[in-house]
Each structure stands twice: as structure tokens, then as C-alpha cells.
Amino acid sequence: MLQTIMDNFAQLLVWGLLATFVMTTILHGSQGLGWSRLSLSFLVGTIFTGRRAAANVLGFLAYTIGGWIFAFIYVVFFLGIGQGNWWIGLLFGAAHAVVLLVVLLPIIAYMHPRMANEYDGPTRSRRLEPPGFIGLNYGYRTPLSVLIAQMAYGAVLGLCFQLS
């Protein structure tokens, strides 16, 4: 498996980048259209800095790298089950989204160095609004936009895997 991944390393990077761009476009698009206030780039970037502009740029870079890393995990999954196509990718993406929404987003309030939480209130360093359960604090359509974005990410990777 490792040999297969190493042989197709460059190809994997391209797939990961493509899938990440599709996912980011959907997430940023839903933010721009007012469907959700969630910005994963900003959320990630503010881990490193309190400067809004720098946080957005850094977050975008970190998020893209994260997208690449997850692309490898998806491919490992496809290789592990012996097949990969767009709908398996789509299902895996949906599962990924559920974990992100149900598990990761609620606990991020306690791990993120600049995020406030409802028990302690904001402090000088922790002021960001927490996402709440499945990100609902950022708007009712937030779970849907994350789900669609992650499913699209998985589907693109599955399709690339299938075509290769």
C-alpha cells in the first residue's frame, strides 16, 4: 500500500489540491452567500495569530495542507477496502463531515486558544464565538454546507482514484 502511495505521490498531491479547492469553494461560497458564518480558514488561522488578515491567509494555507493530508487518508481507505469511486468517496466524505460537526466542532471551543466558551465567557485572548453543536451557532445552514463540502471533497478524490 505504501509503495502504491509513493509511486503515485505527485498524482495524489494534485487530487488533494483539487478536492480541497472544491471543498473550500463550497464553504467560502456558502459564507459569501450568507448561508453560514463558518470560515474554517479563519478558524484554523486564528490558532496561530490574532491578526484577522494574517489569520485568513495562514488558515487558508494550513487548511490546504490539511486537505492534502486527508487526501492520503482517503486513498489509504480506498486501498484498504479494495475499491474507490465517486460515491464511496461521497459516503466517506459524509462520515467525515458528521465526525467534524458532531465531535470536533463542539470541542474546539475548549482547545482553540482564541475561542471563548459558554461556561467561562470571553477573555482578552479568547473572544471568538464557539460553533456550538454541529456548528449551529454559525447559522442553521452550517451543518448542511459542511456536509455538502465534505461530500464533494470525498467524491472528487473517489473519482480521481477511480479514473487512475
Partner: protein, 627 residues
Amino acid sequence: MSRGAADNEQQQAELRPAKDDVYPPIEDYAAIGDGRSVALISRAGSIDWLCLPHFSAPPFFAALLDRRLGGRFALRPAAPFRSTRRYVGNTNTIETSFETNSGRCLVTDCMTLLPASRYRDELRPQAEVLRQVHGCEGAVELEVYFEPKADFGRANGRLEDRNRLGWAYCCADQVLFLRGEMPLRRTGNGAVGGTFRVSAGETCCLSLAYTRRDIAVVPTLGTDAIARLDATCKWWQGWSDSCTIQGSYRDAVVRSALVLKLLSYSLSGAVVAAATTSLPENVGGIRNWDYRYCWLRDAALTLQAFLDLGYTLEAESFIDWLLHATRLSWPRLDVLYDIFGETHLPEKALSHFEGYKGSQPVRVGNGAHDQLQLDVYGSVIQAAYEFVERGGHLDLGAARYLAGFGRQVCKLWRMPDDGIWEKRGDRAHHTYSKMMCWVALDRLLKLSEAGKVRVPVTKFREERDALEETIERRGFNQHLNSYVAELDGDTPDASLILAARCGYRAAGHPRMEGTCEFIDRSLKVDGMVYRYQPETDGLPGKEGAFGIASFWMVEYLARAGRLAEAKERFERLLERSNDVGLYAEEIDPETGSALGNFPQAFTHVGLITAAMAIRRAVAAGTPEETR
């Protein structure tokens, strides 16, 4: 009524309970802002108007226009009280002193403006209204009432209790976070409130933070909030201190400059005409317009006001916006633009809104957007000319665009237009419009002589001369010895007095003297001036005296060397402001009440240019020569 008299009356006034169902007089409001939007706070401590994220956006609080449906954010004594207020130094932070039978407290309100140098590493909300209470004597029971209603009450917002993060009002992609150092509970459908006691020496804060299309930043309170309030005051004070005017009238001029800065959109440099829509020019009537846009006819005067006071950065931002926005419609100039340069601003009436004291309709958008007003060409070109005169630089593109506007003037000036006052009837040949067309061509020829623009000199000169011939032959009524509102007409128009200011005729010219006399005779009322003869615009009801027209007369008198008269009128007009130095568009000559949208940039521009004209006349010691 003078400011001093108003203060005395307030101090002697009986203690009164706050009445949410009663509309305060327009002059009861004071304005705070952050260069993107303005909040209006009543003397009773209620924020009754706030549009977010910018001036022209729908409001979250609009009790100004409907006490029941509008929404408000009140912080005031629970018991009957009397109040006095002032701006903190030369800032846009307002301080209201509430006195009750049990004690006295100060409420200080601002929209925070934090210097990037100090707050660079801190996440901040897109806008924040900060309210600080400080106990002075005894103890005062205060009440908070927060009832946001997005988009004139039409949007479905929901209030959520976020525990220690405060209360969140979520509406589509926008969120307001309310946090206070006092218990706040849901008090009804869509409202949060509570009461608390503040004793002498105690301080507590209440913060309202706004975020749109992004993860919200929850405001901190305590010493952090006090530091933000101090930083905001310092920012405004620093800005005011750079005003170059000294001596008499400085206070009034600086306050007017602060109003202009409040109404300047910091992201584009645009200056909106006023912070509100639909405050009536005639209470109970239909003269209710949306002024949260930028009128090109205000351009030259606004630019001159900034330049006269030494605010070159604001002047440059404004001229940049002006030249950029007008490129979108080039070579045509529209009457009004929004802060981003958009010109399609269709007017809609909000039938579900009661309007200020029943003044319907409440309008959003402005029907004047599709009018033809030829004077705007003169205003824009005059603004560019003054900018260049004071050392500003026009790039090649801007110079080419200005020349294009000149060619447009040559094409259009023989047509009737809607005129500066935007009367909604048939178009006419307005003398002032023709004068400003003359100004447009004259200034372009001067810029051409200076090598700043390239224009067809012979053609422009011929057209300019033809304009002058038309104005002198048909726009001047020999019988009345005055320029008149329309060609071949016989009615007065206060805007014609600007002929001296814009260089069409010197103030001492016999025709200008005759015009001044005719305007005074026909339009003057108690030291103020109507813009045109009342009840002649085809609309029901009678409007008030026009703020800026009254200041234009002062400027004219100063230019004409009639200094004593100019000063006397100016000082009487200064007494017509509200207790914190703000003006609406108009003043009711009978009651002295403010009428129309508030605060009004154009009136404050008039105050500044009139004060500067007086100062120049005093310095020069002689009137202008007769041209």
C-alpha cells in the same frame, strides 16, 4: 432656543418617566458612529436608530420611525428622571447625566474606534456600541431594554441565550452579541432586559457587538471595555485637534467637522447626506425621504469644508470616491450614489411602518436617482478644480473623465432639468442649473489653461458664453432686479445666492445684491431662509426653513463685506442647533424644532463654509471687488 437656554430648562425640568410610545423631538437625538454607521441616542438613553453594517443598510433599531415595530436599545433610569448631556470634549462620544430622586449617574455611549497600532493583535467585531454607566451620587436604579428588529422588523431574527457569552440576536448571516455586567433576561417576545442599581463610584458596561458573514467576536467587559472607550475618545480628540481653525466659532465648526466625519464612510471616502431616512420635513406629512446616500451636488462644498479645516486626507478620500463612483456612469452624472458608487436606488415605501409621528410613507431608496439635475456637473468639476487649486493631483484618467463631463454639459445644458431641489413635477429650465453648467465649462477652461486637462477650448468657450448670455438675458428678471428660479420666471430660489461662491458673479455685483435682497424679501423668516417659496412645490404641507440656505446667505453677506450682518445672522443660526450642536436639514421657524433627516451633512457643511467666509472677510478687511 439657545444651547444654554436648553440646558437651563433641562436642569429645571420636572423628573419625567421614559415613555416608549411617545416620539421624542428630532432634536432630542445625539449621534455616535464609527465611520461606517451612525446610532442615534435619545435624551432618554434609547438608541432608536442604527443601521448595520453601514449607513444605507437596513436598521436593527428603528423606533425613530415606529415606536412599536422599530426596535430599540435603551439604558436609562427606571424611575422618573431628568437628563442633560454633552459630547466628551471634541469627540463623538456622548455623555448623558441622569438625575433621579435617589441619585445621579452618567451614561457614556460610543461606537468604538480602535487604533490599529494598539489593537492589531486583537480580534475585534465589525462594529461595537459600548455603553458605560458610572454612579456619581447616591444610587440609581437603571433598566436595560434590548429589542432588535432587523430590516424594519421584516426579517426573522431570533434571540438566543449563550450563557456567559451573553445574548445573541441571529438574523440570516448577521449576529448581534449583547453582553452586560448586569443580569439580563428574556422579557418578552424578541426582547431582553433587566434592572440593576449603580451606586456612587461604581462603573459597569454594556456592549453590543456586530458581525456579518463571519465568526463573531464576543466583546469583553470590565477594564477592557473602559480601555476601548478611552481609546475611542482619544482617537476622536486627536482627529479634532488636527482641525486648523482657531478663534471664534471654533467649537461650532469642530462639531460640524465631527458630524461630517461621522457621515463619511471610512472604506470608500463617500459622505452620506444624513444618517436617517424619512424623518419628515413636515411632521405628519409625506415629505419623507431617504438621505442615506451621497448627493453629487454636495461635492464641491463638502470638499471645500474638508480642505478649509486642514483635513486633506478626508478631502483626498472624498475626491477619490467621487471620481471613482462617477466613472461607473460616465459620461453621464447621476444625482445620487450609494457609498459604493451604485446608482440604481429605487424608492420603496414601507407601508407597515407608522413613520415619525405618523409621517408616512417611510421610504427606502430615493426616487431622485433617475432625475436629471444639470447642476451636478458643475459641482463635480468645481470640486476637482478646488482639489487641484490646493495642490491635489489629477491622474490622466481623471482628467479625461472630467473633459468628458464637459462635453456632456455642452450636449445637455439647453434641456430642462429637475433642478437642485428635486421637485417631483415637470422639468424646467432652472437658472441655478445653467449657472452650474457655466461653472463646469469655466473651470475646465481654467484647468486647461493650467495644463491639467485637455478640452476643446473654442467649443467650451463658445458654450460657456452662450450659457452666460442665456442666464443674463432670461435668468435675470429686470423688473425684480434679481436672478430668478427659472428662465423667464419671477420666483426666488435660495440656491442662486451661490453664484457668488462659485465665481459666476462677485458678491458685490449689483445683480447679486439685487438677488440677495429679493431672496431676503421673499424667503427670509426670523433670520433663516426657505429654499423656495413655501407650498409651491406641488406637495401637501409646508416645510421648514432650510438649514444650509440660511448659512449660504451668511456666506454671501460675508463675501459682500456686510460682516456685521453676517455675524449677527450666523450667531442666531448657531443658537438653532440642538443642545449638542447638531442640525437637521430644516428648522421649523415657529417652534425652532428640527425637521427632516438628522444629522444633516449639508447643513453642517454650510456652517463650516459660512464660518470660514466670515474669517476670510475679517482677515481681508475688504469686500470682494465687483466683477
